[in-house]
């Protein structure tokens, strides 16, 4: 049977993820060392797992309110206000979602229609552009440059805005580059947002992972920007809770009502046990002054220095990433494309990395290496990459 005529051409036209091929190949290698993993190497802290188990044993197996457990929304509101200076009303301005991924999808569907353009920094996380396309809109890449630490430049944004521009996605700290936005850069961006009256979808999933003594700056905390911003965050990175699929979107009530409308029809609610686990994560974090997060961040920071240092020693240009858990070195010197470099490295040395182009055309000449991996493995990978470079 020919299914082609049944398939929505918009969906069919979206290419499969550039990561897929590397996943398929690396999965067949038993001894592969992976720097290609986009999630923490910590297991969710035990007290959080314990809380979820207890909630299950106590019979907590029902739906929750669409927007999420009131207790969880109160904790989220407290967390965002005290940690990042962004106040949200837990009753009207927060919706708990199935991971930050659902939040991105739903928020984009709320604001994007046919003909609408959404600006996306390039390179960026793989799902923004397809989500815009699925919503019927047009993704517009905005190039970011290594010379500027892959921060989004206000002038580049201004130049990309047309009469059809609805929103800008602001994903910092950034996956795959590890770039962050400093307050001054956000203030420049705020001028453009105010002038051009566009919305900002600020994906702050890596907010807790900033280094070099720099704290994450939330876009909604820039004076006047709260009204223009939908903030997206979640528990995957800060609390090592990727598999729980729990995140949230926050913003003006008028937008969040619409987010909740799609969420309630499509999803109904995030799983109760994950929500209970999230309550425990935030409550304990608050009571212990986020000690677990500090320890995780310190651990990432050491490995970040190790990997950046190792790549520079190999003679590859590597800008210093100050966020997330990725480095994004340039492999341009080798004369290989990102794709060819990663393929050869995987085949010859069984080391998995991700080509920069999987995250957008501007990623050409770079590879993404995750340092969310044990020091032993990082050292082995460094040795392998060094040998790989010397063999060329």
């Amino acid at each position: 049977m020919n299914y082609e005529k049944y398939i929505n051409p918009t969906v069919a036209a979206v290419p499969p993820s550039g990561i897929r091929r590397f996943f398929d190949l690396a999965s067949t290698m038993k001894d592969a060392i992976s720097l290609g993993v986009g999630e923490p190497d910590f297991v969710t802290p035990y007290h959080i797992r314990d809380a979820a188990v207890n909630s299950l044993l106590d019979g907590g197996t029902q739906y929750t309110a669409n927007r999420g457990l009131p207790e969880l929304r109160r904790e989220i509101a407290w967390y965002l206000e005290h940690r990042f200076g962004t106040p949200y009303n837990p009753d009207k301005e927060i919706v708990v979602t199935v991971g930050a991924s659902e939040a991105i999808d739903v928020v984009l569907r709320v604001i994007t229609g046919p003909g609408d353009e959404v600006l996306i920094p390039d390179p960026s996380y793989v799902s923004y552009s397809p989500s815009v396309l699925f919503a019927g809109g047009t993704p517009v890449p905005v190039k970011t440059r290594v010379e500027n630490g892959f921060a989004l430049e206000a002038d580049a944004v201004r130049a990309a805005i047309t009469d059809h521009t609805k929103a800008l996605i602001l994903p910092y700290p950034n996956n795959p580059t590890g770039g962050i936005m400093k307050r001054r850069e956000l203030e420049e961006l705020a001028k453009v947002v105010r002038e051009k009256q566009i919305l900002v979808i600020s994906d702050e999933i890596y907010a807790e992972l900033t280094y070099g003594g720099l704290q994450h700056e939330s876009f909604a905390s820039i004076p006047g920007m709260w009204d223009y911003t939908v903030t997206i965050n979640g528990f995957s990175k800060a609390f090592a809770m990727t598999g729980w699929r729990i995140g949230y979107a926050c913003g003006p009530a008028e937008i969040m009502d619409m987010v909740n409308k799609i969420h309630q029809y499509a999803i109904l609610c995030a799983p109760r046990m994950s929500q209970q686990a999230a309550v425990e994560a935030l409550r304990t974090g608050r009571e212990k002054d986020y000690e677990d997060i500090r320890k995780m961040r310190d651990s990432y920071d050491r490995r970040r220095r190790l990997l950046v240092g190792a790549f520079r020693e190999m003679g590859l240009d590597c800008f210093e990433p100050l966020g997330a858990f990725y480095i994004f070195p340039s492999i341009a010197k080798t004369g290989l494309s990102s794709e060819a470099f990663c393929s050869a490295l995987l085949q010859e040395k069984h080391i998995a990395t991700v080509p920069g182009t999987a995250f957008g055309a501007s990623g050409e000449g770079h590879i993404r290496c995750s340092y969310a991996t044990g020091i032993d493995k990082l050292n082995l990978a460094v040795k392998g990459i060094k040998a790989f470079l010397e063999s060329r």
Partner: protein, 186 residues
């Protein structure tokens, strides 16, 4: 090189502890966390990972060794996987504290025995917790009955044998360490 408590009075250790905590720098704390995980990391890597120079790193480690913050660099061994036969016991010891010396003098008499691996002063129903190791059950029993119990200040002992070790120094012995993450993910 000092082993835990070896030759040092509890009072001294306590005084040193208080002294150290006042003078620990961020670099020192970072180094301790790294060394506790793996004390074979090279000086160069320690320097890179803590964002300091090799000289600063070496100096900090040297200083912590001198101040007895770092007592030794020892691996955590799962002896159950080796051929070595040994018996371990935890002995709860009740003692009469000595005039002017408190429990320290008694502890000193006890921790000098080579069979004794660790000694702790405890709150609760007994005074000292003594961790003892010997090649055979008989030797361990003899140690308790002939050496420990016969000390004039020891008024009573209760010996419990270790049957299996699950976790030591934060390391779980039979942990499933499999990385369950996808090999490559966005």
């Amino acid at each position: 090189m000092l082993t835990y408590g070896g030759g040092v009075s509890g009072r001294d250790l306590q005084a040193r502890g208080a002294n150290c905590s006042m003078h620990m720098t961020k670099l020192e704390m970072d180094l301790l966390e790294l060394l506790q995980e793996d004390c074979r990391i090279s000086l160069e890597k320690l320097a890179v990972m803590t964002g300091s120079t090799i000289e600063e790193t070496a100096e900090a480690i040297d200083s912590m060794e001198k101040r007895h913050v770092i007592l030794r660099y020892a691996p955590t061994i799962n002896w159950d996987l080796t051929d070595r036969e040994r018996v371990e016991a935890m002995i709860e010891v009740r003692v009469t504290p000595q005039r002017d010396m408190g429990f320290d003098a008694v502890a000193k008499r006890i921790y000098r025995f080579e069979e004794v691996k660790s000694v702790y002063l405890m709150s609760g129903s007994y005074d000292l917790l003594v961790l003892v190791e010997a090649p055979t059950l008989k030797q361990l029993a003899l140690f308790v009955s002939q050496k420990l119990s016969t000390l004039e200040m020891v008024t009573g002992t209760a010996t419990s044998f270790v049957l299996k070790r699950y976790k030591e120094e934060g390391v779980i012995f039979e942990d499933d360490q499999t990385d369950r993450r996808l090999v490559v993910s966005p």
